[in-house]
Symmetry: C2
Subunit: 445 residues, 2 copies
Amino acid sequence: MAIIDLDTHTDERAASAPGITAAPRRSGRPRVVVVGAGFGGLSVARALARAEVDVLVLDRNNYHGFWPLLYQVATAGLEPESIAYPARAILRQYPRTNFRMAEVSGVDLERRLVHTSGQPIEYDYLVLAAGSANNYFGNEQLADQTFGMKDIDEAERLRSQVLLAFERASQEADPARRATLLTFVIVGGGPTGVELAGAFAELIRHVLRKDYPMLDVAQARVILVEAGDRVLASFPAKLQRAALRRLRAMGVEVRFGAAVQSVAGDTVAFKGGDALASSTVVWAAGVRGARLGDRLGAEMGRGARVKIAPTLNLPGRPEVFVIGDMAYLEGYKGSQAYPMVAPVAIQQGAQAARNILAQLADQPMRAFRYRDKGQMATIGRRAAVFDAFGVRLSGFLAWAGWLFVHLIELIGFRNRVVVLANWVYNYFTYDRGVRLITSDATRKQ
Amino acid sequence: MAIIDLDTHTDERAASAPGITAAPRRSGRPRVVVVGAGFGGLSVARALARAEVDVLVLDRNNYHGFWPLLYQVATAGLEPESIAYPARAILRQYPRTNFRMAEVSGVDLERRLVHTSGQPIEYDYLVLAAGSANNYFGNEQLADQTFGMKDIDEAERLRSQVLLAFERASQEADPARRATLLTFVIVGGGPTGVELAGAFAELIRHVLRKDYPMLDVAQARVILVEAGDRVLASFPAKLQRAALRRLRAMGVEVRFGAAVQSVAGDTVAFKGGDALASSTVVWAAGVRGARLGDRLGAEMGRGARVKIAPTLNLPGRPEVFVIGDMAYLEGYKGSQAYPMVAPVAIQQGAQAARNILAQLADQPMRAFRYRDKGQMATIGRRAAVFDAFGVRLSGFLAWAGWLFVHLIELIGFRNRVVVLANWVYNYFTYDRGVRLITSDATRKQ
């Protein structure tokens, strides 16, 4: 009974006939189905909150994840719960909006149906905002051999793995084996790789050093490997250099021109013949559009993203929109593709909603226009790079700006309080209270 | 190299010969091995902090769990991280105390060795404080068919299960199946069962009701089943009745004389022929001493607990102590066995430590004497029963006392702040921010 959730908030639906997907909608309102409760999907729901449409948001998780802070979960700085907020709690404030936890397996564009793990769901308008997945560039063996950083489960597994590596090293008599356990390789010099490397270096030098006095902390290595010749490629050159200096000052080894060929057991092999022994390899080298995009039969752009019209819909399908990380659209800084970042997803969500309302009002749709607010990345305590609102900063001021922007954007008052309490505590004590090893520690993905 | 951790806090140990369990201890101090980082084990470590002994604490987890608040994790009131504190962070304040994460598989009492997942560990004195396990009274099939409440992983799984049951019910057309999904059975009317039942009733009535407006919340049932004829059997009769009244006022169905025969699929069968359909059955009907006790070859008391001398050691083995939930000793309120509660474990830990120091000083050991501080249990917002410090209370004052005692006993400043922030937030908003479904949701134990 796919339409249970949508029609009304009273119990009458419980009495309706079961199992009828194509039943007439009693509300009489058009139905907008949004796939994904990330920044893009929530933006669509917010923009349609007062419109005369029924909105159903689907997500495979029951929460919205604030992924810009995911690296803090992996490095024991924040609890998983403080960067996630229940989707129903966010959406229930909108009167005609509903949520369902469901994995979307495909879309029938002709019959206007979304296929899920449960029953198929009809739509009048569809917005696909399913985000991104790790990109292994065809080498899918890497998925089993490396740790990912795409959701809360993965971040928690990485946290357990790093802590367990220290536990095992403290009981390991063989120096070579101990070195392998204490070598942490992060593949990819983008914001995720840089933030992770900095946070791991701090965790080791300020916290684990005290927890494991019997280990020589100089044995522990954090190695950031990047196939290109710079970190934070999307930032201005001056900030790239500042970030690199800072990482090296924190003890992170940064290797350029190092493209990973394979990871097998505890060995990372690079193209050209080099190798490293490490029991923890994190893959942060690339993202691609969510795999749902592959199944649309649409034309694809770089990074396995779905090519869309400037009005954000599939070409020739004005009722189907694709936004955010999943979507490929050129027009950023001239003719580049819009980057896979939250502000793009949020603004595209709002524009897709406006274009749905335009169609309902028989008005022409408008092309997407991006207001660039800039970008930022944090490297450690009092160190960040900030390139936003027309200002380019590095160091303490950049870090304060980063903290401010992330704190006000964090959804939910409770989460803000918990995150702030954690930050204040970590800042003044150099301690981290959440370094728990949970049961998932053995699986990588 | 089992002794790496123990001898010194400098790096010299890294240079010592590997793999020698019976190597002479360079420190020259006697070694006390403590199994378990619970209330009992930590109490031993604290009491030996300034003594001329080396202490090694072992635990299968890397954290100390504050189990009195575990039910809050299962009911989405607190993050797992806020009731757990890294064992190394607690123990590193003591100069000659070390920690190792290891599962203890047995003890060789003759050769004075503890067997672990890693190398065997020598001891001069041994304190076993491994706590308790679920007691299925011989019906081990129940372990696979019910949810447990013994550690953080189990509590998190239960949380995911309850939230997932609501998600599934909201998509379920069959009314009978929906009712099964929304029936939550808690077996056992002790403090754990009562606290869980009250907290689930609040979660459903105040939070999930708003999250799932399409579900008739009256369909959701929380059923507390108890084989005896009262709840909180260890409390005074007046407080038992107060707790029962309060539970029923909150909508919890309490059934007495209901002994579970079996749980199979979604059916709970009771002795006598009754049955209930429920997809979530929580086992809180009994605890027993940790299974490590079974492998000692010692005489056992009721509840699979190890019989000990009044001086807390194994009879005839002055160097081996067993304390807390694992230990069976009579003398409570006349001739009853000491209950399996934190204050007993804490006081026994201190006494075991004093008896070790007495032996080292060639002094006689002293028998354990218990200072009873009372007991308390919370039932919901502003409702608890409190029988401590000579005061018997129920209602708001009991709840305030409960909150105060638990907050000051919570280890770590950070945890206190996070827990308080959560409580204040929940109290004023009737909301709970941490109701996340994580990947473990499908397994029961």
